[in-house]
């Protein structure tokens, strides 16, 4: 019995990095893809404080959507895992 459980600690660090820093980074990447210049590029230079994220690039839209779907799937999976802890499957 020790105060710090190191095997759990490094797991929390690694998975924490993946979920806690990796997913937001993926989100940022998705935003970046979404904002790729496209049909709306003509307004970009004039209005640097524009709220419009979508740049009008179809490929960017697809890449962004894939990023966001991966994040949603990861969240859904994570929530399901947590649900499993509280509600273990009935033993037969």
């Amino acid at each position: 019995m020790s105060w710090v459980n190191f095997s759990a600690l490094w797991k929390i660090l690694v998975f924490g990095m993946l979920a806690g820093a990796g997913l937001p980074a993926l989100f940022a990447f998705g935003l970046r893809a979404l904002a790729l210049p496209g049909s709306r590029v003509q307004t970009a230079g004039a209005d640097t404080d524009s709220d419009h994220v979508y740049g009008g690039n179809v490929l960017g839209l697809i890449i962004g959507a894939i990023c966001f779907l991966i994040i949603l799937a990861a969240l859904g999976w994570g929530i399901y895992e947590i649900y499993q802890i509280g509600h273990p499957p009935a033993k037969h």
Partner: protein, 244 residues
Amino acid sequence: MSPIIAALVAAVGTWSLYRISRGLTQGARRHGFRTGQVGSACMVSLAHGTNDAQKTMGVITLALIANGTLAPGSNAPFWVILSCALAISIGTYLGGWRVIRTLGKGLVEIESPQGMAAESSSAAIILLSASFGYSLSTTHVATGSIIGTGLGKRGADVRWNVAGRMAAAWVFTLPAAAVVGALAYWLAHSIKGSPGVILLLIVLVAFAGVIYWRSRAAKVDHNNVNDEWTGGVAPSEPEPASAA
């Protein structure tokens, strides 16, 4: 340990968020990450529920079992779950703005990408720890994360004196809670039966009322939560007329 890990994750998250999103316009960045924050804040709430709410419910259920009211091995009764949920939500609603101000303005002046990084880091660390069966404090983790976002963004400052004051409060609250618990037990026990419990309830409600009334004297709400940080939780009032 948990605040340090949370700070590390949040620092890496913040750094990469700013790095990746530097091609975006200011407005797009703010708008985009604000949308993302809705999701990350939801995860923090979930994490808060899996961790802090369980502790309260666990203590009450344990007391009921120890008292013989509940059979060993039984689940928390519905009224325990409901009253804990209500108490935590009401407490968050009443005291939330002051905490938001201290963390989001006093400790580090955060922007929406930092907010998202801090929330993601907190949620991930708390949920992972919960899945390993560790109980930890949402506050400690969230504070660690916010310090991390201050360290991860170039040009952002961490007000270490605010952090130090918070750490001092954490050290102080543990024995303080023990003393209050002992006093409450002594009061309820010295007057036997229901009258003692009812008296205790009245005293506790009165104390809570005084604390709430004191907090209203220098009100922090959605109107002034982001005002300039001048050293204290309550923003210094530039025009007294607006107090009316």
